[in-house]
């Protein structure tokens, strides 16, 4: 158990709902769910989820902290916004799902090998480095995330498409060497650092 996680368990004891309200983006809304199940029925990926949103809200109220935060359900959300549109109580369900995923990640108890989480992390690192996404590097990082052998294998598989993209100028090999970032990369990094400091302070998270 990470330090942050232990601290939160200590702080909120058995009131997981309060913890979610305080620390999860849009977590305030969880109590407003009326368990109609429209979100569960509307989710195009619903059958891939262990717990549909409605059930996650109920689990939060029932204090099932471990089950919720280590679940990979909310990582399955593709942000199609069907549930938000249809929720009769107007809960921002998509945002809550992302909020929960982010919170679990920050506590270090999100499922380690979850592909969504890994992709998100690679993307974040890629885009914050220069302030602009480096598509070639992003693809390569993704191919090689499971090791060199798997990376080469997948790279070869995608080779024809890569060449086609090269021909139609959809891929710039020079990105590997000279990627143009934003003007003030340093300033961006300082901003992100400050933002995280503020957030951590508010939530009481040890960074």
């Amino acid at each position: 158990m990470s330090n942050s996680n232990a601290a939160m368990v200590e702080k909120y004891r058995n009131n997981f709902l309060k913890e979610v309200e305080a620390n999860v983006e849009e977590g305030d809304w969880v109590k407003m769910c009326m368990q109609c199940g429209v979100c569960a029925g509307s989710c195009p990926l619903g059958n891939a989820w262990d717990h549909p949103p409605q059930e996650i809200f109920m689990m939060i109220r029932a204090g099932k902290r471990e089950d919720v935060l280590t679940s990979d359900s909310m990582w399955m959300c593709t942000s199609c916004y069907n549930c938000i549109v249809r929720c009769p109580r107007e809960l921002p369900i998509t945002h809550i799902m992302h909020g929960l995923a982010n919170y679990a990640h920050r506590l270090g108890i999100a499922p380690k090998m979850n592909p969504t989480r890994r992709f998100a992390k690679i993307f974040w690192d890629n885009v914050t480095k220069t302030g602009r996404a480096n598509e070639l590097k992003l693809s390569i990082s993704l191919y090689f995330m499971d090791g060199i052998v798997a990376g080469i294998k997948q790279g070869l598989e995608m080779l024809p498409m890569g060449l086609d993209m090269l021909k139609t100028k959809r891929l710039d090999p020079m990105c590997l060497i000279s990627h143009t970032g934003i003007k003030d990369t340093k300033g961006l990094h300082a901003m992100l650092k400050k933002a995280r400091e503020i957030e951590d302070k508010r939530k009481g998270l040890a960074s």
């Binding site: 709902l17 109590k31 109920m58 099932k64 109580r89």
Partner: protein, 746 residues
Amino acid sequence: MADEKKLAAYICKGCGLGDRLDTPQLMTIAEREGKCQVVKEHDFLCSAEGVAMIRADIESDGVTHVAICACSRRAKVEAFNFNNVAVSRGNLREGVIWSQPDTEERREVTQEMADDYVRMACAEIKAMRVPEPNPNHGSNKRILIVGGGISGMTAALESAKAGYEVLLVEKTGVLGGWAAKLYKRVPDVEPFDGPVDTGIDALIDVVNGNSKISVHLNSTLSRTSGAPGQFSVDISQESGATITENIGAIIQASGSEVFDATKLDNLGYGKSPDVIDQVQLEELAKAANGGAIKRPSDGKEVTSVAFVQCAGQRNPFDDNMLDYCSGHCCNTAMKQAMYFKDANPEVDTNILYHDLRTPGNGEDFYRSAQQKGVTFTKGFVKDVVVNGSLNVNFKDAILDEVTSMEADLVVLATGQVPNSGVDIEAAAAPVEDEKGDEQTVAAKEEGVSVLNLTYRQGKDLPHLSHGFADSHFICFPYESRRTGIYPCGPVRRPMDISQAIEDATGAALKAIQAVENAELGRAAHPRSGDLSFPSFRKEGCTQCKRCTVECPFGAIDEDEERYPQFNEGRCRRCGTCMGACPVRVISFDNYSVETVGSQLKAVDVPDEFEEKPRVLVLACENDAYPALDMAGMNRREYSAFVRVIPVRCLGSVNTIWVSDAMNSGYDAVLLMGCKRGDEYQCHFVKGSEIAHTRMSKIGDTLEQLNLEAERVQTFEIAITDVDRVPQLIDEAVKMVDEIGMSPFKF
């Protein structure tokens, strides 16, 4: 009057009648066969000019009986409304030209249909008398209200505001009822976000201060007799004294009791003082008065509370439990959870429900409860274990697991049980003694009567279901089967304060309608304003008591000589007594065995070689007849071999009509009435049901005549069965084709 009878028939040529029908022939029929002294046709009978023509004949020519052969009796009612004359209507438009195709081959049968309807209209007026108001009417307009709760007080105030004197009888020593026992009430005004003051003290002051309302506390009714406009009641007071008062109408607002929670020992009630019902929580909240609510066992401040919804309710599998939902408990539980949350947001409040029901603005209240942090858990509570602490074991219906929660206090939502007095149907289940006389078993009576009616049919209002006082739930919510007595509030169906207030206002209006009609000697409702009333020929009566037993409204008592004693004021004019009478001595001025019998005999029945069968339809004028009219309006075609006679209610159908029809050579008789049973749609509650029972026994009669049983059929028709009614008629004609024509054609 009989000597001065002057019959007139008017044939309309408007709406295409003149083009489709041979009106000179219709006039000849009215004159020769109908024996009308005045016969006229008009191009547009319902126009001012046409109506003026009829009026002139009535005023200067002495016409007393008018047969209007034009559209359905349901159309142009206001145009053809004449005072002090008897009116019949021949339905040539909806019933003939609109329901028959305009083709060459159907022209002959269409004309035959019209001929018959003219004959029938003329035959009907010949048998009619001009109705006169009931002479035995009362004109007392005071309104008695039984029960001083929120419903009773509202009804009292509304009646007083409308200018009527009110007598309010309350059995306890204070006004206010349950509402006075509440700390606060569920909100009835914007923004519906928290408990509000009940306002009951102010209401009590207004009632006490109103000069038109006299309040009798600690009083009950020990006798109620009479009829609308002329009730007489004995009010027994605490001192033992009895006062007698004359009353015009009665509103029964006797309310409800709380379900006996001692039956719920599996939920810990009685095992721990910390398991309470919603009423007990109101007491705790009143004691706390906005502060922290303390639990009864040791006075500790409650930190966690579990509300168990539907405790002992919505359980049709256990006879000791209530089958129904009491409607208010979800909102009440939320309100009570807010008592805790408003005093201290840290208190853990959990509402365990299976289905949360918060109709109307309750939805905003629900949202507010969620915002305040009340937790809602969908689950089925198995039991509450009392073991030092309280453990509520339940199955979580969302997470699909059996689990439990600990609470300082458990509140059971136990629901409402109507305070509706004696179940007269159970009490009066007849047993026959040696002489064959019916006797009622007094021992079967349970509970204390509220009204103590002296009616032959029992002491209280009949119950509808689950012990709630009867009311015509589908069409006329406040009308009971006892004319002039109107139940309102939770004695009628489960309800909350807002609904009870609305209900009481409606009942007050009904009571006013009843006393005003009574003064004029007219029917109260649903045939509001009808002047006719039943009378019987005493010499012919055999004292069989069928009319007194079958009257759905308890309007007929028995006198000392055991003859029926009609209380015209209580009568709804459905004619069920007329249909019941085996010796046919009961009649109305404008509706009798003869008015219908002579119509069906007036129809010209062709002999069997013409291959034109005749099917008689006796259609209830409330649902089946309008459905037939609408079928005509929608140009739904049906067989031209049918002749329709509207009846006030299927209950008024005397079996003599069926046997007369059979003897006259009709090939089939269809009876069309309303839906019967617990979910009845019959305007007169029992009429359709009684008719079905009677007709189920007609098979023997048909057998004696050597006729097939399927020649007489009874149907339940809703007003919306516009497509079904023509189908039924066509099927009957097809059936006659298959089994052959009646052998009774001459």
